[in-house]
Amino acid sequence: MFESPTRRPLITGKTSYSQITEDIIKPIEAKPTKWWYLGFTVSLAALGLWLLSVTYLLFTGVGVWGLNKTVDWGWDITNFVWWVGIGHAGTLISAVLLLFRQKWRTAVNRSAEAMTIFAVVCAGSYPLLHAGRPWLIYWVFPLPNTYGSLWSNFNSPLLWDVFAISTYLTVSLVFWYVGLIPDLATIRDRAVGIRRKIYGLMSFGWNGSAKGWQRFESVSLILAGLSTPLVLSVHTIVSFDFATSVIPGWHTTIFPPYFVAGAVFSGFAMVQTLLIIMRKSMRLEQYITLNHIDVMNKIILVTGSIVGSAYITEFFIAWYSAVPYEQYAFANRMFGPYWWAYWTMMTCNVITPQLFWSRKLRRSLTASFIISIFVNIGMWFERFVIIVTSLHRDYLPSSWLMYSPSWVEICMYIGSLGLFFTLFFLFAKFLPVIAVAEVKSIYKTSSEEEIAKTAAKEGLDLREAHAHTQGAH
């Protein structure tokens, strides 16, 4: 296929097929670096905090949270929605970008999918624990029982959520693993002894045959086709948890698209945060280039603008509806007791991503990293604002209450970050963080060396076109 040689390369520096294998598989075979041990230890410590607070919660009851009769959703549901949102970028990258044949996805899809799975695990823990007695959680599924059988209520968005999140976790996991099989075989074929046994067990006897690849591509394409509507459905259904209720500030039809855009926005921000650290610490700058960072920043800019427009639309409709409760809910968000949360959200989500109009900032690692953190914080506050400010002013002023988290909620939040990063560090140590076979498949069309060869053949001077990529390495 013809590829314009003026298109910027996605693999920079000197490479070859065997060099790609070497660069990506080496960290798995070598001893972890000091930085890995340091990061892993910190994550484990945070995970310990999670275990501690969850154990205390289970032995005492959800009363240890700061919730009350008026504000009965707090940090738990905020964190649930935040984590699910973060879990949207992986599938978007691997599925939607596969359908659109975007080659840059090959360098980032593996780690983004892993991140998706770990984020959904963290998300799932919150409603599970909010249920109070997680050992009875099977009650949500329509299983025959001694009460009639009395079935689950399929009219409830909360039940839709159970199906959406568990389907999403399962399908993402399957998609991720199917993609991993050829790369696990690559590790197997370089290894000896126990490592060969383990990776041999995990790679199912993959042999790289033409028939095998044909089936592989067929399965990947269909899984991508299935995951695309799935990923949109998940956050749509999460938004139904709010939108189908009659709480002012929640009862709006804009919620599904607005939540999906926000999810992609926060997901890409988290991918950006992780990739910037990963490319540096694992020396993957040749594969995760500034061009990758740049395109992801563009997606953050687009989705951030959608989210910003949604905030303004929501505000306008509240005024235009002429419903006093609705109008009050929005005025209260801005100037009520939680004004600081609202303005943090507005600053982080509406203003900071707009900085990415500047090409210089989009291609600056420091700026991208800082802005991605801001977006993560902003999107957390968005959920907090939606949940807490809408609830804390009930219809009856006598029920008006304030909410602040208890130490258990704070420890559980820090702890869930620990769970997420522990899983991510284990992934980075034991599995290939970049899809080796997929990167090889774009090598001919998208590596710096091959593009230069093509250009030389056609007598083009690329110095001009690629001048701005030089600062990258």
């Binding site: 070859s16 079935w151 399957v174 033409a210 591509e217 498949s441």
Partner: protein, 170 residues
Amino acid sequence: MTKKYILGLFRDEEPLLHAVHELRKEGNKIHEVYTPFPVHGLDEALGYKRSRLPRAAFLFGCLGGTLGLSMQAWMLGVDWPMNIGGKPALAWVDFVPVTFELTVLITALGMVATYLVSSDFIPGNEPKMPDPRITSDVFCIAIPLEGASATIGSRLRQLGAEVQEKEVEL
């Protein structure tokens, strides 16, 4: 069961594709081709039929959708109808999200199970491949020695391959 094969090892996809086209034109029987990554056009060059996995996926999708919708309709409409503010027990619109999720779930799981079974992918299976470097940077054409033309080795070399004769199970 092991058999003797002539292996043509290549270092890149273009010479491999070219060789497959040429060898097939000349009437040689190719057992299988092994590559480190999916090479576009290779399955057509080998004359492979399109995979039937999409059909399996479609059937599983029909199954999932039917099961999902009928399960909800039977549970809430037939087995235990509930009076919720006098609204109809068979609230079809409410059944859409769960029907959708179950369709996707059963399609994905069913298709991937079909994929694993049809490819004989079982945890712990030993790979049936002619050279361990295939998963890194070697592209390999395997031709059964039995019935191969006498000049096949030199023809492969001419097409740019490194030639080996090996007794393996493929």
